[in-house]
């Protein structure tokens, strides 16, 4: 039996693939819905991707796949918690699919599937990302649909 955990989250957003791609890759935009985290990269395969939080580098990862505006994948290794440093990097993939509306008055719906995998069997990071992605992606959806991110109070 395969015990390595895998996290899959699907969300549907009233937006376009281009706007969603921009939301995932524009550091000013990520700051708004990702708990203040800036994601910095040139978003080409093999490039570095840096997560910066309150000025500190909290991730220093690598872009594995980049096919704008459909597919983005990078390594994922938090650097800001001592107890997690021993765990190898996992991998997160964003897939963007567009569905056109049934009627003419309506715009498009974009389905974003986030798959986070390659965790060790007893991963300490897996439970954290399982809680974290719904929070980040709910806020992303609200920001794209209403212009305001969710104000979390914790």
């Amino acid at each position: 039996m395969n015990t390595a955990p895998k996290f899959v989250y699907r969300t549907l957003i009233a937006t376009t693939p281009k706007k969603l791609w921009a939301a995932l890759t524009d550091p000013e935009f990520t700051t708004q819905y990702w708990g203040g985290t800036r994601l910095e990269s040139d978003w080409t395969e093999g490039s570095r991707i840096v997560f910066r939080w309150q000025g500190k580098i909290v991730h220093d990862d690598k872009i594995l796949k980049s096919e704008p505006p459909r597919l983005l994948s990078y390594t994922f290794k938090p650097l800001h918690m001592e107890e997690l440093l021993a765990e190898p990097a996992s991998r997160v993939t964003f897939e963007i699919e567009e569905f056109t509306g049934k009627s003419k008055r309506q715009g498009a719906v974009v389905k974003l599937t986030v798959t986070h995998e390659d965790f060790p069997a007893e991963s300490k990071i897996f439970p954290m990302i399982s809680q974290g992605w719904p929070d980040i992606l709910s806020s992303l959806k609200t920001l794209l649909e209403t212009g305001h991110a969710i104000e979390f109070e914790w």
Binding site: T11, L12, K102, Q106, A108, S138, K141, T146
Partner: protein, 183 residues
């Protein structure tokens, strides 16, 4: 008694198989009302209208827009506006009707300006992963639609979900047919 749970039901036999969490900028009362009011469910739940007697043991059904029975069950936990659990038997797909019912629970947590809504689909039997795929595709559509409706006043633009989900639904029906034959 309005609050609490039906005493004749052992909930431990149901194991969670699909969990979906979403955060909604709304009050717990608004989320509860949306989940339990027919004129609101029809806007976000694939056009289905809910019929629910809000007390443990109460009847629960979803009706399709053309009047066909969609889902049938009973209220197990009713604790407004925090927790609602219902037994759930899929009636609109013939192959699914004979399966043991599952348990669907909505947990609504008030976090101040936002509500955390957790939907848990739990099963009392071991099922082929294929039989869970309908829910794993459907719940995100339903709950994202609910979130958009409550936050913007309108649901998401309608799209051809059934077309998109058809291969998975066909596999699910086939797995359900096999399960019923083997039983």
């Amino acid at each position: 008694m309005v609050n609490g749970k039906a005493s004749d039901m052992n909930l431990d036999q149901f194991k969670p198989k699909t969990i979906y969490v979403t955060y909604i900028a709304a009050t717990p009362d608004k989320v509860w009302q949306a989940l339990t009011t027919a004129d609101i469910t029809k806007q976000f739940f694939f056009g289905r209208r809910i019929e629910i007697e809000l007390q443990p043991g109460g009847a629960f059904r979803f009706w399709q827009p053309d009047g066909k029975l969609d889902v049938e069950g009973k209220v197990v936990v009713c604790d407004p506006p925090r927790k609602l659990a219902v037994t759930w038997r899929v009636m609109w797909i013939e192959e699914m009707r004979k399966l043991p019912e599952c348990l669907v629970t909505y947990q609504i947590d008030d976090l101040g300006k936002v509500v955390r809504l957790t939907m848990t689909e739990a099963h009392q039997i071991e099922l082929d992963e294929k039989m869970l795929e309908g829910g794993r595709r459907g719940w995100p559509v339903i709950l994202n639609n609910l979130k958009t409706l409550l936050e913007t006043g309108s649901p998401l633009p309608a799209f051809d979900f059934m077309g998109e989900a058809k291969p998975a639904l066909d596999e699910m029906k086939e797995a359900a047919r096999k399960f019923t034959e083997d039983a």
